[in-house]
């Protein structure tokens, strides 16, 4: 255990916008994490300062979050650990501000573009079908999070990267451990372990290149020069983490929510064309990644004085629930109008999620394959659901009873 960090409010913060919120485990948050966060959004000022975790700013509403994540000159992405730590993890290109992030984005973009994702669709569908069949074979009470939501995106991602599939659970466990700790020593140890494993695979690819993303990363050139092993390691590290814990948790929360909506289940099973609308709505309501930023220079934004090195946390997971932006924002409605469907689940600006197209396809295809097999389902009655907070919101398990088609 690490020693808890003392509460802190710096002098430049006005008292009337201080509001206590614990990023890593707030007492007001229940397993219905998004609804709990939404009630905090309603009670707190749109931008407030919490004394918890060493003290930091929190931005909870759509317009304000959009401005922060797009304004990289004031709100830099170079550091993202709250509370701040020495030698924080550094990801390429996530922690590189423009213009230096652009060559890396440009190199990775083709693999994650709509055109490439469309080509990948049949492989994605194969994984969805296989994984759902295996899970349903376990019968009632099957843990959807463990057997489906967590295995599925990892499998696709590893295939895209060209990672050896016999290391699936090793990767999943490393990722889970990384995201669930706030302990500096553990973070360093796990980062080292992850990077070492990725390096082994990179070395193998160097000897035996094939048509996969890791082999492509070995050939990336920035300004005509090959990138260093260190840069490759960093890039792989980010892609690895980004591909593991994100889709798994959005999917988990979406399936949990849908379990309480039998009429919508019926509609989706009868009209598979509506599943892409369901996907969009699930992404609006159940984002899981928050965006921390560090203030690069003393600035006055929104009429608030930010000091250099202040940490700023953007609560992307509730950006789509902002009732100032979307009408009836708290209601899950797959028929909502475009102007009421705004969300920053994938963030915005120069660091917007590069995997967003892949993520949307993965979720849509999983739901399509699910309703080809399942007529209706529910969470096993009496289940107490576990969850995690922090950089990534997670649902730890979701046991389901189901009726097959």
């Amino acid at each position: 255990m690490t020693t808890p960090i003392a509460d802190h409010i710096p002098e430049h913060v006005p008292q009337d916008i201080v509001f206590s919120y614990d990023y890593h485990g707030d007492p007001r948050v229940t397993s219905d994490v998004h609804s709990s966060l939404q009630s905090i959004q309603n009670d707190a000022p749109p931008i407030f300062y919490t004394p918890k975790n060493g003290g930091h700013w929190v931005v909870s509403r759509f317009d304000e979050i959009k401005k922060v994540v797009e304004d990289y000159e004031v709100f830099s992405a170079k550091e993202m650990q709250i509370p701040r730590i020495e030698n924080p993890p550094f990801f390429i290109p996530l922690n590189v501000d423009p213009p230096n992030n652009i060559p890396y984005r440009q190199a990775l973009m083709p693999a994650f573009s709509p055109k490439s994702i469309k080509i990948l669709e049949e492989k994605v569908r194969h994984w969805a079908a296989t994984i759902i069949d295996d899970a349903l074979a376990k019968g009632d009470g099957v843990d959807f999070v463990r057997e489906v939501a967590s295995v599925y995106p990892v499998s696709i991602f590893m295939e895209l990267m060209g990672m050896p599939m016999d290391r699936l659970w090793e990767f999943r466990n490393l990722s889970e451990a990384f995201f669930s700790t706030n302990d500096q020593e553990k973070i360093h140890q796990l980062s080292g372990q992850i990077i070492m494993t990725m390096t082994e695979i990179l070395e193998e690819k160097k000897a035996n290149p094939s048509d996969d993303l890791m082999s492509h990363i070995l050939n990336i050139k920035v300004k005509g020069e090959p990138i260093s092993l260190g840069e490759m390691q960093n890039m792989c590290f980010l892609l690895f983490l980004g591909g593991m814990d994100t889709v798994a948790n959005v999917t988990g929360y979406a399936f949990r929510h849908l379990s309480n909506m039998p009429e919508l289940q019926k509609r989706l099973s009868e009209n598979s064309a509506d599943i892409s609308k369901f996907t969009d709505e699930a992404i609006r309501m159940f984002g899981v990644i928050s965006n921390p930023r560090i203030v690069a220079k003393d600035s006055n934004v929104f009429g608030i004085n930010f000091k250099k090195d202040d940490m700023v946390l953007c609560l992307l997971p509730i950006s789509g629930r902002d009732d100032r932006k979307n009408k009836n924002a708290h209601i899950f409605d797959i028929d909502r109008a475009k102007e009421d469907s705004n969300t920053l689940t994938f963030s915005s600006g120069p660091h917007m999620c590069i995997g967003s197209f892949l993520a949307r396809s993965e979720i849509r295809i999983l739901v399509e394959e699910w309703f080809k097999r399942v007529r209706k389902y529910e969470v096993v009655p009496g289940t107490e659901l576990g969850f995690r907070m922090g950089f990534s919101l997670a649902l730890t398990h979701l046991p389901l009873n189901f009726e097959t088609v």
Binding site: E70, R105, Q106, P114, K115, K118, K338, M352, S356
Partner: protein, 107 residues
């Protein structure tokens, strides 16, 4: 005021905007809730979800594309040679009357 015309993919829907010069065509489209312009990244040129197609006459008149814009347009769902990202087009007298054909899908 600058006139900008958006035509839906199948040609069934045509929206004419009269907007003040300044800002980008993408911003004008978002502010006027044009269906078919998604603009996920808010104009940072990393997503390609505000692309549209223009006639060859208009294409020749528009400012040159950057390397990143060319790259993004190559990887949209259905690439065409006459694509532009609306976030890279400035609303000005120079584009008065431009007609932008929207793609079937942005992503």
């Amino acid at each position: 005021m600058v006139k900008i015309v958006f035509v839906s993919h199948d040609g069934s829907d045509r929206t004419e905007l009269d907007v003040k010069a300044g800002g980008s065509v993408m911003e004008a489209a978002v502010a006027n809730n044009i269906d078919g312009i998604v603009a996920d990244c808010g104009g940072s040129m990393v997503c390609g979800t505000c692309h549209a197609f223009v006639s060859s006459e208009w294409f020749a008149k528009l400012p040159e594309q950057s390397e990143m814009e060319i790259c993004l347009l190559e990887f949209v769902p259905e690439p065409q040679d006459n694509g532009r990202l609306c976030c890279q087009l400035e609303v000005s007298e120079a584009i008065d009357g431009i007609v932008l054909q929207l793609p079937a899908q942005q992503r």
